[in-house]
Every structure is written in structure tokens, then in C-alpha cells.
Symmetry: C2
Subunit: 152 residues, 2 copies
């Protein structure tokens, strides 16, 4: 299994903030390191639990900066909860596994182009969109086929 390097990624998050004129501080470095270590989406309060010596406000404020900078994106869970996750820059969509919480980026699907066409049909000036896709990832499907929960 390949584990992505954590520190450089954290470093990159901090650097992104600096490029936008924000300062390099200890709390932000701690936050960046925790976020960089995440392999799935997470709640803001989750960060708070893992960084008990940081103030709530700091976490929420920094998180917002990271989202605005585009390096972290917001994820809407099926139950309506708002989570966050590292963003591979650029607009994209997520396939969210409702079983294990993993998320993969949706590729090979031109949502944008399709919406552009549809919007034109409606004389609607397209501005943006939000798409989340829910289901079960390959791993979870395979797991359940190996030991089925309920088969008639």
C-alpha cells in the first residue's frame, strides 16, 4: 500500500495560505498536519477533538480559509451533515461510500458539459453546481459478497 507523504502536503497547505497573504502560525501548522493525514472526509468538530489545545474559532476560521483557497473542499453527506476533505485542485465531484466513508473523485463523467447544454435549453445562465453521489465503493461491495449479510 502506498502512503502519501504527510508533512510535505501539510507544508503545501500552509504555503497556499501564505501565498494568499496569511501568516504561518503554529496552530495552522498543527491543523494542516492533521488535515494532511486524513484519507477521507471529516467533520470540523472531529478536528477539534484531535486538536484539543486549539480554540474552536481558530479551527473554523482556518478551515474556511483553506476552503476559500481551494485546497480543502466541502462535502455534503447523505444525512445532511457537512464534512470537509482535501481537494485535488479544481472542480470535481465525489463518489461517497455510505458504508466506509471513503470518497473517490468522479472521473469520466462530463457533468459540466451536460449541464451547460441543459441550461441553454432553459435559457438559464449557468453559474455553478453541487453534486454528490452516494453508494458503496468497490471494497465494501466485495466485502459483502464474501460474507453476505442477508441472502434469501
Amino acid at each position: 500500500m502506498v502512503r502519501a507523504p504527510v508533512y510535505p502536503l501539510a507544508q503545501q497547505l500552509i504555503q497556499t495560505l501564505q501565498e494568499r497573504g496569511y501568516r504561518d502560525t503554529a496552530p495552522r501548522r498543527a491543523l494542516a498536519r492533521v488535515i494532511a493525514g486524513k484519507d477521507r472526509h471529516f467533520a470540523a468538530e472531529e478536528l477539534r477533538n484531535e486538536l484539543p489545545h486549539l480554540g474552536r474559532a481558530t479551527i473554523y476560521r482556518s478551515l474556511k480559509l483553506l476552503v476559500e483557497a481551494g485546497v480543502v473542499c466541502r462535502v455534503l453527506l447523505e444525512d445532511g451533515n457537512l464534512h470537509y476533505q482535501l481537494s485535488h485542485r479544481g472542480h470535481h465531484h465525489h463518489l461517497l461510500c455510505v458504508e466506509c466513508g471513503a470518497s473517490q473523485d468522479l472521473v469520466g463523467c462530463d457533468v459540466e458539459g451536460m449541464l451547460k447544454q441543459a441550461a441553454a435549453l432553459h435559457n438559464f445562465q449557468l453559474n455553478g453546481h453541487w453534486l454528490e453521489v452516494y453508494g458503496r465503493c468497490q471494497t465494501c461491495v466485495a466485502k459483502d459478497e464474501a460474507s453476505p449479510a442477508q441472502v434469501s
Copy 2:
């Protein structure tokens, strides 16, 4: 301009609840009438302002029943706020105007089919999805062309 009849629609909402075994009560009739009169999406707290003599709990509980029954649907605004609106039964998506708040149903766009294909590519077991589309409706675009805010 054609104005949809309000009372019959309210009546229909109540009837839907009755068909599901819920009772016909005065608070629910009042709520149904207000919702039936809405021509755009609305917040739960907005209903509360317009129905000050109903308890918060009643509004939220009834709203939930209406959503479960499929006659009202949830709408996610661009700013992350959750709104509601009358639903023309069945799964569909909205074109939300960020200027006037109007919403129209997205037709002529097979999101479902496209996602099915894409999911297959990822070996992902599709389960559901949530799509909201933001922009400006025909009316607002026309309005701004008539009196442009800023043209170089």
C-alpha cells in the same frame, strides 16, 4: 400570468398525509396553506415567522412528514443553507436562481443515466445522488441586459 390555485393544493398536501395514516389537524392545515402559497423555496424558520401561533416543533415535524411523503423536497442553497419547496413528485433537480430565488425543474438532462455509466467505470454501486444547479434565470438575465449594472 397564471396563478395556481392555492387551497386545492393545500388540500392535496393534507390528503397525502392522511393517506399515510396521519391526522387532519388545524396546525397542519395552516401549514399546508402557507406552503401551498409559496412560489419558491423557503426556510423552515420562514414558515415559523408566518405562523407565529404554531409551535416550532410542529412545523419541523410536519415538514419532515411532507418531505418523507415526497410532496415537499429539500433544496440546498449555494451558501449551504437548507431550504424546502413544493415538489412535483419524483426525483428531479433544480435550477436555482441566485438572484431572485426562483427555481425551476431541470429537464432534458439524464443525470441518472450518466452517473450510472460513470459509477460502473469506478466499480461503484450507485445508491443516490444530490445535484443542485446555481445561476440566473431567464427573467433576471433579461432584466440585467435591459439596465446593465456594469459595462466597460
